[in-house]
């Protein structure tokens, strides 16, 4: 028997499609995509969730390379002088953690309570920007205290790791702005799917920052 019966094929499709955890409740997608803007396929957002997960894998590898370089370099010569982390960093951390809370609140309102969503989403964006501003201030504090990028490997890693995180977070802020301002009614995915994608990235940036903070603290 070279072929499967139709129902067996459909069973296989069910297995492929289910359990992917897109987080998007199935919509009325039984009909085809006839161009009716009110209907969207229940599957087309799944690829974005796969995509964002893969993107995070790539980012993890990037930071793992930097982490291993950090560990190796620290163990090398005797010239490692730990950086005195400015206390502003803890404030920034609280700001970023708060933004993870606010993005969760916002995300849950994306489908049904649009005005409330917009407020909490804007608050998240503001908190993200505040984090970056705080990071820049922390760098300036360090420079004023005489901790330059090139004077010591601990300094180099501090600036390089925090700047790398900051660049990725800035990308996250652009994503927040995009989700906040785009007209989702005419898009291929829903606002709440987009918000969920952005919030996956945002939470990851949060967790990455906590990881880096621990790493930098262990370097003392």
């Amino acid at each position: 028997m070279n072929s499967m019966s139709d129902s067996a094929i459909l069973d296989e499709i069910e297995i492929i499609d289910s359990g992917k955890g897109s987080g998007v409740p199935p919509r009325d997608g039984g009909d085809d995509d006839s161009g009716n803007s009110g209907r969207r396929s229940p599957f087309s957002s799944r690829r974005y969730f796969t995509g964002i997960s893969l993107g995070l894998v790539a980012i993890v590898m990037f930071f793992m390379a930097l982490t291993s370089a950090y560990i190796v370099r620290k163990g090398l010569g005797g010239d490692w002088r730990p950086v005195r982390l400015p206390s502003l960093l803890w404030v920034n951390t609280v700001v970023l953690l708060a933004s993870s809370l606010t993005i969760e609140v916002a995300r849950r309102r994306a489908a049904a309570r649009l005005e409330s969503f917009r407020r909490w989403w804007a608050l998240t964006t503001v908190l993200g920007v505040a984090f970056l501003v705080g990071q820049v201030i922390a760098w300036r504090q360090l420079v004023l205290a005489g901790f330059y990028l090139k004077s010591n490997p601990a300094n180099s890693f501090f600036y390089m790791l925090t700047a790398s995180h900051g660049v990725h977070l800035a990308g996250g802020i652009i994503a927040l702005l995009y989700v906040g301002f785009r007209v989702w009614e005419r898009a291929r995915i829903t606002r709440d799917a987009a918000a969920e994608l952005a919030s996956i990235y945002w939470h990851f940036m949060d967790g990455l920052w906590v990881f880096l903070l621990i790493l930098l603290n262990l370097g003392r």
């Binding site: 087309s44 690829r47 790539a58 990037f62 370099r73 990028l149 180099s156």
Partner: protein, 586 residues
């Protein structure tokens, strides 16, 4: 009830206007051809650089165009060598097999209307193009191109112009170009993996995918995991070069009579980071060729792939083990012999899945009804060259032997046979195979066969002697032999290699003219001239914009149903419903 037609309805309407159709296209087929053309341009640039190298090596006083005094300095030779390696590895071997053919063929073979993210696809091509421009611009800045090899080992690569010509702006542009390439590759890898996971047609289970798709899948996973590491390494190198940090630069250096004000860094750190990327990179270069070889050997033997499941496992094993062996590039770096032992065992173990694949290729063609088309010849050549190049890897995998062979022409022979030729043969096989589909016309078979034989004999003539050169102790990356009297007796061998190289490179123009002529004037192709089974042969040649005309096929069969007993035809297309397959009259 679940429907897949919603995926089939194409994401974007057919573009109009020249710019949208051919320049900033979202169509995976156009993007695939763009990558292929970028690789074609790059391979001729790379070959030109190697011609200049081969002339200088055996005729050091020869008149070389484009350079000062018409004579190459040793540093300029190293610059040619660096850019030859970089352009060939990055812009040819990482683009054409994966981003070129993968982009074009993968969505069709799995029954999708396009890649998962068409805009990202377009961005990934143009980012690759930008990285090529940045890299090539290194030739035209003060000091010229860098001289540290495609491996860019610090401290040479981490210091500035004080370290040598080309190490100023040239090296910086190289690092930036490579970093941009990393971004482009990550985008592409993400697209490929998502497409395979999410966009397969109804009935196209993973174990019904053609082996080409499996190869593109594992290759993309390797790329996703490896290029981030190279990007991190490039960032650190850039900081060392421009911001005064010392990630890789040790203390106590005196260069060109100047004391270098850096300390504490480790050149070995770069080596680890680079080769952690670098080894998966060479599997990225070869795996698509393996997928193509399996596909073509099966099609033109009219037999299924022998041991399809084992082939899938072997591809995955090669991909996984490829991440575990980077230390074999560093056997002479002073590493612990215990580490060397571990890396050695792991490296040799890659021979197991590789051998499985080789024996299965032989098993595929065994007793087959072989059709010696050009693509079949190149696929058979791939198997031959993969074995030739691969077995020398087993020698190099022993630290005790590598102590002698490291940085000799033996290594040059090994990696050229396996990458510079086997992988290239994979590209040629794919080109001759899919050209009718892509352009609606056939490449000229006679010219193709001439191209094959000249190239096949030529590459063996070039690279087999390099193994012998290595065995007698000829170091690599030497600009000329005038300073080493013990190498003078080898000059005739080097001359032979150079002449073989000129002839082989000249033969590639047969292919180029064949290609350019056949695009416009080749014999017209039908939808399925090879009587192949996979989905790309079920649509017109060339395909319409949305591949399947809005009707994504349903897949009923595996990918290699050739010569199935009881059927009238010697092939069963994957999309043919069982009730429509003609049976034998009996």
């Amino acid at each position: 009830m679940v429907t897949h037609d919603s995926e089939g309805a194409h994401a974007h309407a057919a573009p109009t206007g020249f710019i949208r159709k051919y320049i900033f296209s979202l169509d995976h087929k156009v993007i695939g051809i763009q990558y292929w053309l970028l690789a074609l341009f790059s391979v001729f640039v790379g070959m030109f650089l190697s011609v200049m190298m081969r002339i200088h090596l055996v005729w050091p006083n020869a008149h070389i165009p484009f350079v000062e005094n018409n004579q190459l300095t040793p540093e300029q030779y190293l610059a040619l060598l660096t850019m030859h390696g970089s352009i060939m590895v990055f812009m040819v071997l990482t683009t054409a097999p994966q981003s070129g053919f993968g982009n074009y063929i993968l969505p069709i073979q799995i029954g999708a209307a396009d890649m998962a993210f068409p805009v990202l696809n377009m961005l990934s091509f143009w980012t690759t193009f930008l990285s090529l421009v940045v890299m090539i611009s290194a030739f035209f800045v003060t000091g010229g191109a860098p001289i540290s090899g495609w491996t860019a080992y610090p401290p040479l690569s981490a210091l500035d112009a004080i370290a040598g010509p080309g190490q100023g702006a040239g090296q910086t542009l190289w690092v930036i170009g490579v970093a941009i390439f990393c971004g482009a590759s990550l985008m592409g890898a993400l697209n490929f993996i998502t497409t395979i996971i999410d966009l397969r047609a109804k009935g196209m289970s993973l174990m019904r995918m053609p082996l080409t798709c499996w190869a593109w899948f594992v290759t993309a996973i390797l790329g996703l995991l490896a290029f981030g590491v190279l990007l991190a390494a490039c960032l650190l190198l850039l900081l060392d070069r421009t911001a005064g940090t010392s990630f890789f630069i040790p203390g106590g250096l005196v260069v060109s009579d100047k004391i270098i004000d850096h300390k504490g860094g480790s050149p070995l750190l770069w080596q680890h980071l680079f080769w952690f990327f670098g080894h998966p990179e060479v599997y990225i270069a070869i795996l698509p060729g393996m997928g193509v070889a399996s596909h073509i050997l099966s099609t033109f033997s009219r037999k299924p792939v022998f041991g399809y499941r084992a082939m899938v496992h072997a591809i995955c094993a090669i991909g996984f083990l490829g991440f575990c062996v980077w230390g074999h590039h560093m056997f002479v770096s002073g590493m612990s012999p215990y580490s060397a032992f571990a890396f050695s065992l792991l490296t040799m173990s890659i021979g197991v899945p590789s051998a499985i694949k080789t024996f299965n290729w032989l098993g595929t063609i065994w007793n087959g009804k072989i059709q010696f088309t050009c693509s079949m010849l190149f696929a058979l050549g791939f198997v031959s060259l993969f074995v030739s190049g691969g077995v020398t890897g087993l020698f190099l995998a022993q630290p005790s032997i590598d102590l002698f062979f490291h940085d000799t022409y033996f290594v040059v022979g090994h990696f050229h046979l396996i990458m510079g030729v086997a992988a290239i043969f994979g590209i040629f096989a794919a080109t001759y195979f899919w050209f009718p589909k892509m352009f609606g016309r056939h490449l000229n078979e006679g010219a193709g066969k001439l191209h094959f034989w000249l190239t096949f004999v030529g590459v063996y003539a070039i690279f087999l002697p390099t193994h012998w050169l290595g065995m007698v102790g000829h170091p690599r990356r030497y600009a000329d032999l005038s300073g080493a009297t013990f190498l003078y007796p080898l000059i005739p061998v080097q001359k032979f290699i150079s002449i073989a190289a000129f002839i082989t490179i000249g033969s590639q123009f047969i292919f180029l003219f064949n290609f350019l002529w056949s695009v416009k004037k080749g014999m017209k192709a039908t939808d399925n001239p090879w009587h192949a089974t996979t989905l790309e042969w079920s649509i017109p040649s060339p395909p319409p914009h949305d591949n399947f005309g809005g009707h994504i096929p349903v897949v009923y069969h595996g990918p290699y149903e050739f010569s199935v007993p009881g059927y009238a035809d010697d092939y069963v297309p994957q999309h043919l419903a069982p009730e429509h397959v003609a049976k034998n009259k009996s």
